[in-house]
């Protein structure tokens, strides 16, 4: 029960130093949500303020939706969590990354996108939420390669 998430809700900055006590249960509600809004509600990250300090490095055009590389850096001090939401996917929440103080708020991953969509990244720092968005176009391919 001593999860990072709960500690953060209390905004007790010092306790962030503590490592994860146990693997938090997979967030069924958030990952099962069918809209970006519900997904963000599921992880308790609604009402995020737009921020230029979240850097989303991704191609504007993906040649194939099966693999869309995304690299995310949060330059917001004290970032403890980054959530990746693909608005038009059937289940928008793609991942949520929780960092202790020993990890940098950075992740690079490959995601699937069913169609052209905004990708929204929500970073959490000291209990407050910040968001940045990038549109990625998914194109139809020829036979090439």
């Amino acid at each position: 029960m001593n999860s990072l998430r709960r500690t953060l809700l209390g905004a007790l900055a010092l306790t962030v130093l503590k490592p994860f006590a146990a693997l938090a249960a997979w967030n069924n509600d958030a990952f099962g949500a069918k809209s970006a809004q519900d997904a963000l509600k599921g992880i308790g990250a609604t009402g995020a303020a737009p921020s230029k300090d979240i850097v989303i490095e991704a191609p504007q055009i993906a040649e194939n939706g099966a693999v869309v590389p995304i690299e995310i850096t949060s330059n917001i001090p004290g970032t403890t969590s980054i959530a990746v939401v693909i608005e038009k996917n059937p289940f928008p929440l793609a991942g949520k990354f929780d960092f202790t103080q020993s990890a940098l708020p950075y992740v690079k991953l490959n995601v699937k996108m069913g169609e052209t969509s905004d990708v929204r990244v929500v970073a959490t720092a000291a209990g407050r939420h910040y968001a940045a968005t990038k549109e990625i176009k998914v194109t139809i391919g020829g036979c090439g390669g």
């Binding site: 191609p59 055009i61 040649e63 194939n64 099966a66 693999v67 490959n110 391919g141 090439g144």
Partner: protein
């Protein structure tokens, strides 16, 4: 007349964003290469290389890929080439079949039963290609071009490359014959020209993200013929090796940086 052609130019010219699109697609390709799972296939291939198989229950570790029995390092970069023991030109896949027969005692029928795998179960050829090609990283591509049979294979490959047939009248050059063309968004390298062939031969075999599968050069040629609406080329047949050698020799000199990652 002048006005009409100007009008046509305006109507048909490629809009400026196309340049940006090209840059973004290059960025996509760079990023998928950086985040490629291709090494997982190399691990799987090394395991198969060392696994005793066939009636003789031996591994392929004594297989001579052209640089001596058991030498894997740099071997892929020197293929296809002429092999004296078999008295023919071989690419990686045909040479592996030869070793499977000679060393492991396996029949061609059994060894070629499942040469193209799928997402869930890649084929033995795919794993082995990943491992062996990966051992040529940084080595300059230098396929055989001097032996008489290598020259013959090159000439045949070139002929095949330009040969139009089938219900759609296609040759390889129908798609890969003109500069700065693309199918959908995919750039089409003019594979008969060194500048375009070099980066291609230096990055096959490859992991394809569109179907999350590792694919060999034999597969690449096979699938082109499928899309040309032709009958199926026999795996590791002389025709396929000839096309492969034609491409490899045209693109020689580039340091190998595969196995690649493609759309």
């Amino acid at each position: 007349m002048k006005r009409l052609s100007l009008l046509l130019a305006l109507a048909f010219c490629v809009p400026a964003p196309a340049q940006d699109a090209k840059k973004e697609i290059q960025k996509y390709q760079q990023m998928i290469a950086d985040g490629s799972p291709v090494e997982l296939f190399e691990i799987g291939g090394e395991e198969l290389w060392k696994k005793p198989q066939g009636p003789k229950k031996v591994s392929l570790e004594k297989c001579d890929l052209g640089r001596g029995a058991g030498v894997v390092k740099g071997a892929y970069a020197r293929l296809p080439r002429y092999f004296k023991d078999a008295d023919r030109v071989m690419d990686l896949e045909s040479r592996l079949l030869y070793c499977m027969s000679m060393l492991q005692g396996r029949s061609a029928e059994e060894a070629t039963k499942r040469v193209f795998g799928n997402q869930d179960t890649p084929s033995e050829m795919e794993y082995l290609s990943a491992y062996i090609a990966g051992q040529s990283r940084g080595e300059k591509m230098a396929p055989g071009t001097t032996h008489a049979k290598e020259k013959e294979a090159f000439a045949l490959g070139e002929k095949l490359f330009f040969h139009r047939a089938g219900p759609w009248d296609f040759s390889c050059a129908s798609c890969h014959g003109e500069e700065n063309k693309r199918i959908r968004m995919q750039d089409l390298p003019v594979l008969s020209k060194p500048a375009a062939a070099r980066p291609v031969v230096a990055t096959w075999p490859a992991y394809r993200v569109s179907n999350s599968q590792f694919k060999t050069m034999q597969w690449r040629i096979n699938d082109c013929y499928r899309q040309m609406r032709m009958p199926e080329p026999v795996f590791a047949s002389e025709a396929t090796i000839a096309v492969n050698l034609f491409l490899a020799a045209t693109g020689k000199g580039e340091p190998y940086r595969g196995p690649g990652t493609k759309r």
